[in-house]
Symmetry: C2
Subunit: 345 residues, 2 copies
């Protein structure tokens, strides 16, 4: 509660706005840190929250572009979007009181005001507050939806997931293992692969950075999934997606969750799209915020698995708001291991 | 019945076998015509059929390759696969008698023996026999399945179909028009486009041969589908598919039925696969013979529409078995208008 009290006495706080849209790679120059006044009074129904953690997620890169996508682009000169976990400082919303732990979408800022309906009160005794931004938050629900609703994973099937050590991929693979699948991850670097097989319990992990050609990547994937791919949870796109397509089994199912490789504008074209026909595949692109009706069920199940220690995820934490731009650029380059967070307090 | 009697007296008939697998384009050299003996006696349950029509369909190109696909490759030196419509000559199957009209899969041959269970008795009084190979046969059911089951077409939606003047595409567009969709076809050549809009009643048709660049094709498609594409029935693949992907609306649905452009081994890679994610598209590759349980319902509906003159399709007919290789090569080059058939009698 130290942070709560100190900020209650502060008249100003810091936030980060989008200063310019990146061309290619994101750099710190695309952001600007600003000091703004704390609101003097709250509207009825509103809540003032002190953020303890900011979530950094690959989808934010898409929002930084002006291109039409599934959401409005992030506006210039406005607080960067993003999920946050924090503590209620003041409340004019009946359901929340000072001291309550809440998850919301207050963006890259030390504090913020939100309508009480947009905040989710969470129990930070049972589960660490930060986990509500990862395994028991949007990344976890994304994984849950893909594995259960789109892929309908069943025992004996082979599931491949790219960005396997990330916040979504790590949950995808663990959920599939719990269902009895053979799970193969794809990740970049020996440390990540060690984490994926050693810590998360996947059956195999391919280090795509060790594969010097598309043919070698295909050979490694074929060896790790000797019976072919029944289920594909795709986070990356580009050559990695294309290679997985080459290994599809008949009636394969594909959850298309991310195309992070395209965010820099350099996605390789797909050569193996014909496999979608010849293997009679079903592919579904999705964005988890369009399926809010399933969040309560998903969050319940995920919270239960975390409490039972059946679901785990490493966190890569950078400290202080000013670290966010650099940590975000690092996330897009895959420098994080597990969930990337900014801890503010 | 003239044909029936004459062949009953013939001790031999002709068939076409696959002589070699094509590399790239199909040529007549890939086939060999043979004269074989008519069976002297029938096994119990078997039926001898004189074929009146052979169906030529793009999927046969896929079978000619040795590559793994949704079906076993066509065996060398064996009768080319294919749907046929004809008349029973002799029968040792309780449900069929000489003179019955039947549809089956006897392949590229003047006659053939099949198990009675594999033959479908049809009414050639109500509907012309040849239509059972098109609108009221596999192409029609393929269209019906895509429009009704995969795309779930509804009034007010915009549907785009490639190979629009073909046996499948022409039915796709007409079914969607009956449901109240705006229907845009893509076809090659002014004559086909005139047929698609004038005869079949599509709202618009894009002549891809008139578009000299990918950007021009995109501009034409965007103009013909000003509200974007809700439903895509893809028969062609390659650049045409890629261009349609660029115009997808949110929650677009895609029935992936054919990639005929890939059969020659020269499919362009897909650059717009990212749209599958950003538009949260659902794509399903399918092969209609895996959904036999729906054929009776589909055929009933299609027969009703043909009888009511609500469904029409041109036929391009070549005469005599020896014409099949050339007509098939022409089909792959898009030389047919509507359903391509070989008439034997």
């Amino acid at each position: 509660m130290h942070g709560l009290r100190s900020v209650s006495m502060t008249a100003q706080y810091q936030r980060i706005v989008l200063a310019s849209r990146p061309r290619g790679k994101v750099s710190s120059d695309n952001f600007r840190i600003e000091t703004v006044d704390r609101p003097v009074s709250l509207e009825p129904g509103s809540v003032l929250v002190q953020n303890h953690y900011l979530s950094l997620d690959p989808y934010m890169r898409g929002r930084m572009s002006a291109a039409k996508s599934y959401a409005q682009p992030q506006a210039l000169d406005q607080t960067m979007v993003g999920e946050t976990a924090g503590v209620v400082v003041e409340s004019r919303f009946a359901g929340l009181s000072p001291g309550d732990h809440v998850v919301g979408r207050l963006g890259w800022a030390e504090m913020g005001v939100a309508g009480g309906e947009s905040l989710r009160k969470v129990d930070a005794q049972k589960i660490p507050l930060s986990a509500y931004l990862g395994m028991v938050g949007m990344p976890g629900v994304t994984a849950w939806y893909g594995v259960n609703i789109i892929l309908n994973a069943r025992a004996g099937q082979t599931l491949v997931v790219s960005a396997a050590s990330g916040a979504v991929g790590s949950v995808v693979g663990q959920l599939a293992k719990l269902k009895g699948c053979r799970v193969v991850g794809i990740a970049g670097g020996a440390q990540k692969c060690q984490y994926v097989t050693g810590h998360l319990g996947f059956d195999a992990c391919i280090d795509y950075k060790q594969e010097f050609s598309d043919a070698e990547l295909l050979a490694s994937l074929s060896a790790a999934a000797p019976d072919g791919i029944d289920l594909l949870f795709e986070n990356v796109g580009s050559t990695i997606f294309d290679t997985s397509l080459a290994c599809l089994n008949p009636h394969a199912r594909i959850a298309l969750c991310g195309m992070v490789a395209a965010y820099g504008g350099s996605a390789a074209p797909l050569n193996n799209a014909g496999k979608l026909l010849t293997m009679r595949a079903t592919l579904q692109g999705f964005i988890i915020t369009e399926h809010m009706e399933l969040w309560p069920r998903a969050l319940d199940e995920l919270a239960g698995l975390v409490t039972d220690n059946k679901l785990r995820c490493n966190e890569t934490i950078a400290y202080g708001l000013a670290a966010a731009p650099g940590a975000f650029a690092g996330l897009l380059l895959g420098k994080n291991l597990g969930k990337q967070l900014i801890q503010l307090i």
